[in-house]
């Protein structure tokens, strides 16, 4: 019995090193749209908005772009305004 327990512990440690360390590194990235020198989110700033839209013109999820929750909400609103005025497409190619 004792031997078995020791084996299990070793296994779990190895596992954590290979799998879970990656996720820790990802979390440390900060939001690119908040902070002192962050650009202003506006529907007229097309260069910025196009960064946060996929090839098929969908809004990218914040888990990929690391945008904070409040800024993501504002981003999606501004993208939708730009879509109404035909500055950005609803559907990509």
């Amino acid at each position: 019995m004792m031997k078995r327990k020791k084996d299990k512990k070793k296994f779990s440690k190895n596992n954590s090193n290979s799998l879970f360390n990656k996720s820790n590194q990802r979390q440390s990235k900060s939001c690119p749209l908040s902070g002192k020198n962050a650009p202003e989110i506006n529907y007229k700033n097309l260069k910025l908005l196009k960064k946060y839209v996929s090839d098929t013109a969908k809004i990218l999820p914040s888990r990929i772009t690391n945008v904070s929750l409040g800024k993501q909400r504002k981003l999606s609103l501004e993208i939708k305004k730009a879509r109404v005025l035909a500055l950005m497409p609803y559907v990509g190619e």
Binding site: L46, K81, V84, L85, A86, L87, M88, V91
Partner: protein
Amino acid sequence: MNYYEHTYITAPELNNQELETIKNKINEILKKNESKIVREEDWGVRTLAYQIKKSSKGKYNNIYIQGTNKVIKEIENFERYEEKVLKFLSIKIKKIPEENSELIKTT
């Protein structure tokens, strides 16, 4: 009194006279309701991201208005039944920006 930002897209093949009649009508509505245009921006003719009323290009006009919500309702009502206006959008804002936007026409 509130600040509003209003943009409307007209058909690209309009001549100056037809454009001015639309502008004059908007000015009339503004005068009637004691409000005024604070700033104006011309974004020029741009290609639309999707076709509107079968045209793929449009002329963008952007105005900043100081007035009441009645004015916006009346302007939108006028533009809805005007065939030469393809689309419009009005937004309530807190401040009127002093710098030009990036979309402004560069000639």
